[in-house]
């Protein structure tokens, strides 16, 4: 059974001047353990697709299942819980709260968990993950003091903290130099080997090449698989 399934998904944005078709009849199945790259030029609809997968935006039409749960008519609270329990997000600009410490940033998904962890358990988990990602020394520092590579590691730590099965990454190396890009991609590979399902969005064929599967998207349509 696929872990995520999209069927005939359409997404249009109604702007004041025009109707933008961002996704056109997208069907996609993601299996457990997949490492998929979604590749396309700027404006091709990659982010829109990721937003719909991650329940950050709503499709205009079509069907979407997470495991065997059909995503339809959910309250904001149910959506937030599904998002919290299923997805870790890693974004191009890191999406960290600058004034929070690294520790507090990593902890955010735990703050919104349905079943709360004790502070002690959360602390141990955060320290373990941070240590594995080489940011164990930085936990007390405010996020804004970190370098780009370190910030993305914090974002990765945060995506892992809640033990979600799926990681959604939107241009995770887009703001990094070559050396850090390689480091981060190495981490992605390891995570996938450990069993995480990863969907990685990029416009960079080189980055995509490390993935097991590549999906090309053009003008909101999947062109080959």
């Amino acid at each position: 059974m696929s872990i995520l399934k999209l069927k005939n998904i359409n997404k249009t944005f109604d702007t004041k001047s025009e109707k933008v078709v961002a996704l056109n009849d997208i069907s996609l199945e993601v299996e457990k353990g997949d490492f998929i790259a979604i590749v396309g030029t700027s404006g091709s609809g990659k982010t829109t697709l990721l937003n719909i997968l991650g329940l950050l935006d709503q499709k205009t039409s079509g069907d979407y299942w997470i495991e065997d749960k059909k995503i339809e008519d959910l309250t904001e609270k149910e959506i937030a819980r599904l998002r919290n329990e299923n997805f870790g997000f890693i974004l191009q600009n890191y999406a960290l709260i600058n004034d929070y410490s690294v520790y507090d940033n990593i902890k955010i998904p735990l703050d919104y968990r349905y079943k709360k962890f004790s502070n002690h358990k959360a602390g141990r988990k955060i320290k373990d993950i941070a240590k594995n990602l080489n940011i164990g020394e930085k936990l007390k520092q405010p996020a804004k003091n970190l370098s780009g590579g370190q910030k993305q590691r914090v974002a990765i730590a945060r995506a892992l903290i809640n033990d979600t099965k799926i990681i959604l990454a939107d241009e995770p190396t887009g703001s990094l130099d070559k050396k850090h890009t390689e480091e981060i991609l190495e981490i992605f590979k390891e995570l996938n080997e450990m069993g995480k399902t990863i969907i990685l969005i990029t416009h960079d064929e080189k980055v995509a090449s490390i993935c097991k599967k590549i999906v090309h998207i053009e003008d909101g349509e999947i062109v080959n698989e």
Binding site: K77, R83, L91, A95, I97
Partner: protein, 427 residues
Amino acid sequence: MKIFKNIKKNIFIYIFLVAILSVVLIFSSFMYKNISSVNKKNNYINSYFNIPNIYMMMTTYTLADGPYVDKLDKEYDDGGLYTFDAQLFNQADKKGIKNFGVTRQGVYASYSIEIEEVKCNKKFIQTEPQQVYQQDYPNLGIFINDLFGENIKFPIERGRNFKTKDFKEKEYLPIIAGCDYMGSFKIGDALNIKVNKGYMETEEKFVKGKIIGFLEKDTELMTYVGGSEIINANKLVLIGLSNEYKYDAGFFGVFRETLNGVVETKNPLEVEEKIMELARTMGYEGKGNIIKLSYMKDAFNDYVEFNDSSYSSYYKIFGISLVASLVITILSIYLIIRKNKYDYGVLLINGATKNKIRNSILLENLIILLIADVIGIILSLKYIGAISPLVFIGYNLVMMVIVLLTSSLILKNKKTIEFINFNEQNN
């Protein structure tokens, strides 16, 4: 959300908010204090004067009586002198104006009376004398003349107020006693009153009085010999004077504060003009001062009117600051949500709901409100000496509702996608 981190992040907006909220609260205390004292009927006399800066703005010249003015006593009168009262007019001795009124001031400032004998066989016990006018003269009684007695309705616990006919009665002077005497006297009791005129005259006088009523407990009266004083009338007796004692009634002089204004003219028709002219040369016109000439019988209404209009300007300022605080609160919530958009987006992608974010905004503002409350209460107590718990609670509730509505509305109208449009924000 880390509430305090967030408050720190938006510290300038919040400091501004605390400032305006506490100003409104302090203002509310000020309004409460003054309005409640206006409304409390026991205080109505003092209410004319309890906002000094307003009082200072008006110079009222009151003519004592009749179509024009009271003539001075015969002994001083050279046939062309007219006296008048001026609330701010204390500088008659300058500009070469003859200063006849001073003797009267002296007289009424130094009255003391004792009640010598009580008919009906009840002994009158003089307790601690009120020493509010002048340290050296214990005062138990206040003389009230007919004009005053008719114009003012004192708050009466038992019996009745003064009536015109009381002042015509030769045999017994009408007396309204403070409530402390209710145990010792009853209405109709006759008193023998010894009058000491300690300052200018040495002769002792005896007058007879009859109790017609008792004042309500804690009635407060205003006197202003040696500065305005509010006195508690529980231990006082108010004695209505017949015409022959008329000038002695100045003690409790709402209208007869100073008798030192004198103009000289042979033509009574010119008196008003002369007084206004004098006032102008004294420099009382302009600079926000209003000069007004009115007859004594109207002066009372003039004050009420003037103070009412002053209050209405306070209401206006208070209303404006209230509305301003609402607008600023709404604006600051809008600004804070805008400023925190990115952070809220981060929380949303990690499982927060907009409701949770709204709650944290609510909590932040609750803390701000509490800080403003504490500042408001401390400063109100220190500088105003009164707070209105009801107004405080009401204002807090209104502000919480405003915060709730504003934050709900702003968040509701923003889609999740708008918060997490990180690229737009960064580019």
